[in-house]
């Protein structure tokens, strides 16, 4: 048996997927979800093999939800976005269906996935990186905190610190961990506002109040909060450029 989850905020849109799935009796729908929050829970609970996912949904987008998923299922996007908006994702070989779509088109997408059932969806990470830098979501970061989802507007971030397999996002409210790489954030965040000042630090330049020399060729950026962030030899000119010095 193949397990599926449908996530879409429009009940009728879910009905279409449900109806089209009747052609695939081996696929069983475990749950239908109204938004990304429900979706995330359902994915954790049912560990589906495939997810039919809308992109524009309440609170968090389909992409943002995927960022928080631990065991990534295969994903087929269903969206009414104009084609050009989604073409960027084509390169990642994940299928997407433009609403309204036909039963034939749906069958083709599902059949294609069934034929490659055992290949893991390794490209999803790359897809999420692409998605994160679209205007749809580049102004905020979603994180999971004690089983809840928290949305952090990027301007609230003081700095980001590498922490093994995670990154630590430091804000006035405290720091939060996210299972992403430094380069993910470097790509996603506006370089005018966020500068990679060190191998382990990305800094919100608006938070900097002072820069002091530190040890041999390094510097320390002092933030408004009083926090001190290490600036490397290569990071220093970048920070100066971002501050317009």
């Amino acid at each position: 048996m193949i397990k599926a989850v449908i996530i879409d905020d429009e009940p009728l849109a879910r009905e279409v997927v449900k109806e089209y799935l009747l052609n695939f009796p081996q696929i069983q729908i475990m749950q239908e979800c109204n938004d990304g929050f429900e979706g995330l829970k359902a994915i954790q609970q049912h560990q589906p093999d495939i997810v039919f996912l809308d992109i524009q949904m309440p609170k968090i987008t389909g992409f943002e939800m995927l960022e928080l998923v631990e065991n990534m299922p295969a994903v087929i996007f269903t969206t009414a976005f104009e084609e050009h908006a989604i073409r960027a994702f084509e390169v990642h070989a994940i299928d997407y269906l433009l609403k309204p779509f036909s039963s034939d088109r749906f069958d083709k997408a599902v059949q294609k996935w069934l034929d490659h059932f055992h290949t893991p969806s390794a490209n999803t990470e790359a897809l999420l990186e692409t998605a994160a830098s679209t205007p749809l979501q580049s102004n905020r970061v979603v994180i999971k905190l004690n089983g809840k989802i928290k949305i952090i507007p990027v301007q609230d971030i003081h700095y980001i610190e590498a922490a093994d397999d995670y990154v630590k996002i430091v804000t006035a409210e405290g720091s939060f961990l996210k299972n992403k790489t430094m380069s993910f954030f470097e790509k996603m965040l506006d370089p005018q506002q966020f500068t990679r000042v060190h191998r382990s630090y990305i800094l919100n330049v608006n938070q900097v109040t002072r820069i002091d020399p530190y040890e041999k060729e390094n510097h320390l950026a002092i933030l408004r909060s009083g926090a001190r962030v290490l600036v490397s030899k290569t990071g220093y000119p970048r920070l100066k450029a971002a501050l317009g010095l």
Partner: protein
């Protein structure tokens, strides 16, 4: 006989010189600067020399034996030349001024016409922001209903058609009644209700006596779209959208309310919620910046639009 011939030759030729300089500046006027007056001075000087020479040649040919007259004519050359130059130059300057003024008027008219076209194009663009996202999602709902509840599918097709027809019709119309606009918005809201099911409730009310109050079409549409967008996409619960209209200070007031998430949005910054295009449109229509008001209270966002009533509605654009 001599004096008549003398004066007619001089006057006719002087007139001709005046016409020549006037035409000349009609077709060519140097740009503002030092040469502006120099050009007319030089041309009129050349014309006055030509005038003196030509009149002298004609008169000498006409009266070859009248030595006394010819002598007098020769003596008068400097005076003739000076007076002629002054007259031709003054005609030249007058013409130059006249044509410059005409030019200026024309360019002003052209500028106004251009501005009007730009403004109309801008208004057209602002009016016409039908979202393809909305259209495709609605079609997708119909696709589902055809199988599930064909009767509702048909209803939805009809509503969508009415809505689309309404938005096409609105492109030609300058002003419509409030009742018409609200009916149109109701269609839009009904379609959204089908899409979002039980999550969305709407409440559209209108003060009595406002049936024939006029307003620009498609002014409320983007505001309601915004209300839906922020209501439906910022919150996960049920949302209620209300549209109220009333008469106050000789203006039509329309208030649109929607819930929003005050953690996700900071509506107090600027006009917020992408309402700048409404602001722009109201400014283009009424040349006033104070016709759009927004307020955020707890998690309810209110947009108020005021529509002044022009005396002559049909000629208002």
């Amino acid at each position: 006989m001599q004096s008549i011939t003398d004066s007619s030759v001089h006057v006719i030729l002087l007139g001709a010189a005046g016409i020549v300089i006037s035409h000349n500046v009609a077709y060519y006027r140097p740009a503002d600067g030092k040469m502006k007056f120099g050009y007319v001075a030089v041309v009129s000087f050349a014309l006055s020399v030509l005038w003196v020479c030509l009149s002298r040649w004609i008169l000498v040919s006409a009266f070859p034996s009248e030595l006394q007259y010819i002598n007098w004519l020769n003596n008068a050359i400097p005076i003739h030349a000076f007076v002629g130059w002054m007259l031709i130059a003054s005609i030249g300057f007058r013409s130059q001024m006249w044509y410059d003024a005409a030019d200026q008027q024309e360019s002003l008219q052209r500028k106004e016409a251009t501005e009007k076209i730009v403004r109309e194009a801008e208004l057209f663009k602002l009016r016409q922001q039908l979202q393809p996202h909305f259209l495709f999602n609605s079609l997708n709902s119909i696709n589902a209903l055809i199988m599930l509840r064909p009767k509702e599918a048909r209803e939805m097709v009809l509503k969508l058609s009415d809505f689309l027809r309404g938005s096409l019709k609105r492109e030609d119309e300058q002003w419509i009644t409030l009742t018409e606009e609200l009916k149109y918005l109701q269609l839009y809201l009904d379609i959204e209700k089908v899409r979002f099911g039980h999550r969305l409730t709407t409440n559209v009310t209108q003060e009595e006596g406002l049936e024939n109050v006029m307003m620009p079409p498609m002014l409320l549409q983007p505001v309601v779209e915004n209300a839906i967008k922020f209501g439906l996409y910022d919150t996960t619960g049920d949302i209620a959208i209300s549209i109220r209209s009333w008469w106050q200070d000789n203006m039509l007031y329309i208030a649109i309310q929607n819930p929003f998430d005050n953690e996700l949005q900071q509506p107090n910054k600027g006009t917020g919620f992408g309402l700048s295009s409404i602001q722009r449109r109201l400014y283009l229509l009424f040349a006033r910046q104070d016709l759009l008001e927004t307020a955020a209270n707890q998690n309810i966002f209110t947009t108020i639009i005021k529509v002044p009533q022009a005396h002559d509605k049909s000629s208002h654009n």
